[in-house]
Symmetry: C2
Subunit: 443 residues, 2 copies
């Protein structure tokens, strides 16, 4: 780039002022283009959706809609899922088929229902949370806004734990969980995390499985949303399977594990599942059987007939990767080209999942998002990755590269970089002015 | 029948004893047949399910899966339902399309969620039920066991209100609802009621709409499960539309109305909906948007493409009626032939819905169900139509004629009649023996 690789912090005021004028002019030019782009949510793009159109053909009026145990999937019944769907989702989630329940179309809904049940009825005979004065939840930050909103909705205090390279700060998690009985759970996206894209290290998972919670009804909410959502064939993150690890550690009931096919086939028309210990399953089923007669078995059957087995699903995910990989790589390349070495931003280079986490200088994220919006590019609101929408550093922006076409994504990322530079420039100049001896004092 | 039309109560002890011996012999004979029949739940039969197989063909890999407003139904989004599905379900439920939310596959689940939300968060700003010492619900009896189980599960006291020819005993409903602030709702199946099969009269609906509840958060849970489920083309029950009636009465927020396509196409793979006032909808949406991103839009689209519109749905229901009508009529005919005039049982002759309500003499239902089970015919457990499974009269049995083939249904109904006679005979003889002067006193 024309401004070179010199970090902004090493530039003189004059250099920065010249740069600011230049960036402002560039920004005005882009504003004039009338862009209308959206990089705000982790939605698959049209080409990805097209991959699953065959799912509309696997069942027809000639099909036998009985599942392998002979049950007519067209009628009432089967609370926890048909056998072949349990096997498929069990394989996807790396758990035995008898350790899970298949639900409806939304894993978010399953998580909500777990919190709701714990609130109204308690976990395995423990006091319902609604009868307690104080309930707290740990939130790994930056993290997934919709997780935080569920606990918030139930009046639960969200307590932030920072996400490190290796996963959540486990010293902090261990300290809090073992000392505070009001802490009842933690929200985790352990693999290709939302939004950082990195995965929990082996040591982190082992430490999770060995937690000694003060609260008997503490549970890890392990939202393994991106379990098979790799970008590369050979360079994949691997996560220790948490249920098995908890069992080995003598803590079999510590985890609720969630997944869905939302980003495998059609979001909103997939199937979601929860895997957990047999004790927890029994506890959950006592509620589930009051709530419903059963979930959509025809859709379960449709999934199995389409993917056939976990190998089919994995092959299918390679096609997704072929579409997503160039998008991720382009965002990363533009960021490197535009921002590398300037000391005003950092970003992640994930090997899977749906997001890139982007950090501006402290105090700049809101203004960067605002500037992008004013030039026609919608980003996830700054702060959205923190409980209550408040990022104490005002630095984190979640980039969702999946949905826009490659060309739009290029434009949007270039704008993001430009806005980041422009805002950083102004910020540094403001800071220097504030720190400089005041003109009055100098007189 | 060979024992004639003489009511049992007018028979001499000798006549009854002879009859008991004869019925016992008949019963033993049937027991020897090794029957395995199930008349226990309101499930559509295979021929009914076959009617909807075309639903598997309306979407294919060549289909445009955008709905009429252009939304790609394959992707995330749309919290309350796609426009054409709102119109179809609105027409089915006789409410404007903007007064409803389309949910997932189960209206039971929707009702559960309303209770759960009221328990945890309260209704429209009122105190959450979990913070109250006492919450009560009215249950029209006999009624639907799964309704009662939801309120039971939340520790709510179920209070019985008897079902009359015209609907619930409205004197009692008005008295209770207006005087007791802890009464927060009432479970209703207003049309072709489960299990009695009769529908609420115009006066009953009007009185419902004009209730003056002591509790501001009192709501009528109006489960219109059988709204278009007629048995006859021209002899149909008609129900005043409750939402409009409530609005006219100045009580717009009084009702949550539920329905689903479970018994229109495939139970468990249909779509459910709730209709209510705009105020209530807003209240519900505050929770719903935390719980999920949206329900299964592809399945909503599948329904609309299959039925096209309400006329298509009504035509479809006529085909169901053609299958169900002979089953209902056969049960009623056998009951009349076997039990008519004997004074030991009565039953309903509904014009729609899924059930016939059958009453034995007081204190006989459990034994009749037991005797049927021992001869291989499973009926809904006696008492199931009452909260807690306890029928104070031990008289009511819910007959579900839909599922078994006609021939099996014939055998099962004959057994039911035989068991009813046998148990009644024994019961009357026991009563007479208990009432007769004791042999010692007569000496």
């Amino acid at each position: 780039m024309s401004e070179g690789r010199k970090p902004y912090s090493e530039m003189s005021n004059e250099e920065l002022e010249a740069l600011e004028r230049k960036l402002k002019a560039e920004y005005k030019k882009i504003q004039g283009l009338g862009l209308e782009l959206n990089m705000s949510r982790g939605k698959p793009c049209v080409e990805q959706l097209d991959l699953s159109m065959g799912m509309m053909d696997v069942l027809s009026s000639d099909s036998d809609l009985r599942c392998e145990d002979g049950t007519d999937c067209r009628n009432y019944g089967v609370l926890t899922g048909i056998p072949e769907a349990l096997e498929l989702m069990g394989d996807m989630m790396e758990v035995p088929y008898d350790h899970l329940i298949i639900y409806g179309n939304s894993s978010l809904n399953v998580m909500y229902d777990q919190i709701s049940r714990s609130y109204s009825h308690g976990v395995m005979g423990n006091t319902p949370w609604c009868k307690l004065d104080k309930v707290k939840f740990l939130c790994v930050v930056p993290g997934y806004d919709r997780h935080f909103r569920i606990t918030e909705y139930f009046g639960i205090e969200n307590v932030c734990v920072p996400m490190l390279e290796t996963g959540p700060d486990m010293d902090m998690v261990e300290e809090l969980v073992s000392s505070d009985e009001s802490i009842k759970g933690i929200w985790c996206v352990p693999k290709y995390s939302n939004p950082t894209g990195n995965s929990y290290s082996d040591e982190t998972v082992r430490r999770f499985a060995r937690l000694k919670p003060a609260a008997k009804d503490f549970r890890i909410y392990w939202d393994n949303a991106y379990t098979i959502h790799h970008l590369y064939d050979h360079d994949q993150d691997h996560l220790i399977e948490i249920l098995a690890e908890c069992k080995r550690a003598g803590n079999p009931d510590l985890v609720y594990k969630f997944a869905s096919t939302s980003k495998v086939c059609f979001p909103g028309s997939g199937i979601a599942a929860m895997a957990t210990s047999l004790n927890n399953l029994e506890d959950v089923k006592q509620q589930l059987k009051v709530q419903t007669i059963g979930h959509d078995k025809v859709n379960q059957l449709r999934h199995v007939r389409f993917f056939k087995d976990i190998h089919g699903m994995v092959e299918h995910m390679r096609k997704h990767a072929d579409i997503l990989r160039p998008k991720f790589e382009m965002v990363e390349k533009i960021c490197e080209e535009e921002l590398g070495g300037l000391g005003i931003a950092k970003w992640t280079n994930p090997k899977g999942g749906y997001f890139i986490s982007f950090d501006t200088m402290d105090g700049c994220a809101k203004e960067v998002v605002r500037k992008c919006a004013k030039a026609g590019v919608v980003l996830t609101p700054a702060g959205a990755t923190y409980p209550g929408g408040v990022d104490p550093h005002d630095a984190n922006i979640r980039i969702a590269p999946s949905f826009p076409p490659l060309n739009d994504l290029k434009t949007a990322t270039e704008l993001l970089c430009l806005a980041t530079k422009y805002v950083a420039c102004t910020k540094i100049l403001e800071q220097r002015r504030a720190e400089a001896p005041s003109p009055v004092a100098a007189q």
